[in-house]
């Protein structure tokens, strides 16, 4: 089938304003949008810039707006988009070139919630034990690949980039509810600040956009509840 793909283009060295360029190419229904971008770059316009790495939905590099909705280009099939495809960079981030956005503010928020295990107790002889039930509490939020699909789908983040964002809250949730971690109170204090978890208005854009199908709004709700009750178990 013939596919028309309309791409957001912006070269900071040449363009004053961004524009859109349309390309026509042959594709199979089972082709991914990433394959189409590779074809455009390889055969029609080598100046096209976009991020990609593993191309299998694990690294989270190729998050972009496809037909107005945040997705990973490597997980989106032509069968699901139709023959007319519009690809734009993630909303709410500074565009560096074409489909590449500046991810630094996103990672800054991620780092702000201390997404690593904190436990100053003396190291046990073997591993720190955890039951299956204790592990299950935060299982969902371990799946995050930091693609930023959720944060850049969030109207609260569009409104103000100081908002810590769903991805950072998911990362915090993963440790707040980890029975081996001892810094839940510290993280909750960070998320209780002005641009913390209460900027979430339960809109669900993050949950719908997540390519890993993490129940993000639920995780945010559990963090809000932990802040209210002080319970993390």
């Amino acid at each position: 089938m013939e596919v028309t793909i309309k791409l957001f283009r912006y070269n900071p060295e040449k363009d004053k304003k961004p524009s859109y360029k349309t390309y026509k190419l042959e594709a199979l229904e089972t082709d991914r949008v990433l394959d189409l971008l590779e074809k455009v770059k390889g055969y029609q316009d080598g100046t096209l810039s976009f991020r990609r790495s593993c191309a299998h939905g694990i690294c989270g590099s190729d998050a972009m707006r496809i037909n107005g909705f945040n997705r990973l280009a490597c997980k989106t099939l032509v069968r699901d988009t139709g023959a007319k495809i519009t690809v734009q960079p993630l909303l709410g981030m500074r565009v560096i070139k074409d489909l590449i956005v500046d991810m630094e503010p996103f990672f800054e928020h991620y780092r702000s919630v201390k997404p690593w295990l904190i436990n100053d107790d003396p190291e046990p002889e073997k591993e720190r034990y955890q039951s299956v039930d204790q592990r299950a509490v935060f299982d969902d939020t371990t799946k995050c690949i930091l693609c930023a699909c959720c944060t850049t789908a969030c109207p609260s983040f569009w409104g103000n980039e100081q908002y810590v964002g769903p991805a950072a809250i998911v990362a915090a949730h993963r440790f707040i509810f980890d029975s081996r971690d001892k810094a839940a109170a510290e993280r909750l204090k960070i998320l209780n600040e002005v641009w913390g978890v209460y900027r979430c208005h339960t809109i669900f854009n993050c949950t719908l956009a997540c390519p890993r199908e993490i129940q993000i709004t639920r995780a945010i709700g559990e963090v809000k509840m932990a802040l209210t009750t002080g319970k993390t178990e």
């Binding site: 909303l91 809109i203 509840m225």
Partner: protein
């Protein structure tokens, strides 16, 4: 180098967030509508009590007592209330969030009959029936 961060209103509205995004937009418009309605009400009440502004007060009063305005304001105020209730329930019981799609359907299921009855009464009285 690079573009500035820019999220325009129209670009944000074009995001394909589907049902939940629509409820969010309607909720925001609803909040704004309630502020305008209450603001007009207070302003009209204040002006009507002053000789110099009585005519303006009566004019503002005639705006929000107009049945067309009531059709609009009742839609958004009622939607704002029911949607707010849905969000409060989901915030208080995060485990229910997995049924958020059903919650939105339920919200419309509650909203439409109530609004339908109100619409019938407002339009009938507006048209002098």
């Amino acid at each position: 180098m690079g573009l500035k961060r820019n999220v325009g209103l129209m670009e944000a509205l074009r995001y394909q967030g589907k049902g939940p995004m629509l409820t969010y937009i309607l909720h925001r418009i609803g909040g704004l509508s309630i502020v305008i309605f209450v603001g007009l009400h207070i302003l009209a009440g204040y002006l009507a009590n002053h000789a110099w502004g009585a005519n303006l007060g009566i004019f503002i009063n005639s705006i929000y007592e107009n049945w067309l305005f009531q059709v609009f304001i009742f839609f958004f105020a009622l939607f704002h209330a029911i949607n707010g209730l849905r969000i409060v329930i989901l915030d208080l019981w995060p485990k229910l969030i997995e049924y958020q799609r059903e919650a939105i359907w339920l919200e419309w299921f509650v909203f439409l009959p109530i609004y339908g009855i109100a619409l019938f009464v407002i339009v009938r009285s507006g048209l002098g029936g």
